[in-house]
C-alpha cells in the first residue's frame, strides 16, 4: 500500500491522505488517476498523452517538479510515501491544476514569436545544419512549454516578474535564427531586472528539464548578447 498525500483546494488548501494499492509497474500519474477514479472523483488534475510528449501532467512529486507519467513510483516513493502537489510558482486553480497564463504570457513578453522576413514566393532560407548559430538554436527548440523549469526556478519564486527560463530559452533560439527579423528589439525585451540578467545560474532548470535542455546555457548566451548591445548603446 502507498500512503499518498495530495494537495486539495486552492492556494489555502491542505494535503489529504489516500491509500493506493502498490503495483509493480506504476507511475505517479497512475496513482493520481486511481485516486480520482476509485476514491475521490472530485480530484482535479491535468494529463493528456500519458507517454512523455505533451508535458501536461507536470506536478511537484516529493518536492521536485516532474512529469508524473514519466515518474515511476519505485524511483520516488520513499518507504511507500508520496507527496503530490501542484507546480510551484504558478497560481493554484484547484488541487493539482495550476493557472498557466503567466507562464505563456512571459513567452510572448520575451519576444518568443518568430518574426518573418520573407514572403511565400521567396526562396527557402539556406542554413547548413552545422552552422554554429543554428546549433545554438537547435539546442533549445525541443521545449514543449511544460513549466517544469519555471517551477524549479528560485528567481521566479523570489521575483514574480522575472521572465523565467523557458521564455528566455525560447528568445535565445530566435536570436540565433537567421530567418528571424526582430534583431536588437528582442535583446531589449530580455534585458533589465526582469530579464536574463536576473538569472543566478542556479541551474535548477537544467537539472529538472525532462528534455535535458539547458535554459542556463541559453540565458548565458543572452547575457553576452545583451552586454555587447549595452556597450554599443543598442539597447
Amino acid at each position: 500500500m502507498l500512503v499518498v498525500e495530495i494537495w486539495r483546494g486552492g492556494e489555502d488548501g491542505r494535503f489529504q491522505s489516500f491509500d493506493v494499492p502498490r503495483l509493480e509497474n506504476q507511475t505517479v500519474l497512475d496513482v493520481v488517476t486511481y485516486v480520482q477514479r476509485k476514491l475521490d472523483p472530485g480530484l482535479s488534475y491535468r494529463f493528456s498523452c500519458r507517454v512523455g510528449m505533451c508535458g501536461s501532467c507536470a506536478m511537484t512529486v516529493n518536492g521536485t517538479p516532474r512529469w508524473t507519467c514519466r515518474t515511476h513510483v519505485s524511483r520516488v516513493a520513499e518507504d511507500g510515501q508520496l507527496q503530490i502537489a501542484p507546480l510551484r510558482n504558478l497560481p493554484v486553480i484547484k488541487d493539482l491544476s495550476v493557472d498557466m497564463r503567466n507562464f505563456f504570457d512571459k513567452l510572448a513578453k520575451a519576444g518568443g514569436a518568430f518574426q518573418s522576413t520573407k514572403a511565400r514566393t521567396d526562396n527557402f532560407a539556406q542554413i547548413p545544419p552545422a552552422d554554429p548559430q543554428r546549433k545554438q538554436a537547435d539546442a533549445g527548440i525541443e521545449c514543449i512549454g511544460c513549466a517544469v523549469c519555471y517551477a524549479a526556478c528560485d528567481v521566479v519564486t523570489w521575483k514574480p516578474t522575472y521572465l523565467g527560463p523557458a521564455a528566455l530559452n525560447r528568445a535565445w533560439t530566435l536570436v540565433n535564427d537567421a530567418r528571424d527579423g526582430m534583431g536588437d528589439k528582442r535583446l531589449s525585451l530580455v534585458a533589465g531586472d526582469d530579464g536574463c540578467i536576473a538569472c543566478h545560474s542556479q541551474q535548477g532548470c537544467q537539472e529538472h528539464c525532462p528534455k535535458s535542455l539547458s535554459p542556463t546555457a541559453a540565458i548565458a548566451g543572452l547575457k553576452r548578447s545583451v552586454a555587447v548591445a549595452a556597450l554599443k548603446g543598442k539597447l
Partner: protein, 117 residues
C-alpha cells in the same frame, strides 16, 4: 503555493554553490566597513592598532578570521566560475568547476588557519 510542500528541488550542487555565493557576498559586504574602521585605527597611532591586533590574537577570533578567508576565497572562486559561465562559450562540465571552487576555498581557509596559529 501549497503550504507544507516538500522542498527537494534545491538539492543539487549548483544550487548550493549559489547559496554559498550569496551568503558569502552579504557577509563580506557587511564586513567591509568594519575592516576599514579597524584600519583607520592606524591613524591614531601604532599603540591603538596594536591593541586591536592583540585582541584579534584570541583563538576564537582567529577562527572567525579563517572563516572570513574561506568566505572570501569561496566568493572569489565561485565568482570566477560564474564569469566563465556567463562570458565564455558554454561547457558541459560546469559541475566539476563547482567542486574545484569549493576545494580551492577550503584550501585557502586552511592555509590561513595553519599560519595564524
Amino acid at each position: 503555493m501549497a503550504v507544507g510542500m516538500k522542498t527537494r528541488h534545491r538539492n543539487h550542487s549548483t544550487w548550493w554553490a549559489f547559496a554559498l555565493h550569496r551568503i558569502s557576498g552579504v557577509v563580506l559586504a557587511l564586513y567591509l566597513p568594519v575592516h576599514f574602521q579597524v584600519l583607520a585605527l592606524a591613524m591614531d597611532g601604532e599603540a591603538v592598532l596594536d591593541e586591536a591586533l592583540k585582541w584579534s590574537d584570541q583563538p576564537l577570533v582567529k577562527l572567525a578570521e579563517a572563516g572570513l578567508i574561506f568566505l572570501l576565497a569561496a566568493h572569489l572562486t565561485g565568482g570566477i566560475r560564474l564569469l566563465a559561465l556567463e562570458f565564455l562559450p558554454w561547457r558541459n562540465w560546469q559541475k566539476s568547476l563547482v567542486a574545484a571552487s569549493g576545494g580551492l576555498s577550503l584550501a585557502a581557509g586552511l592555509l590561513f588557519l595553519v599560519n595564524a596559529f
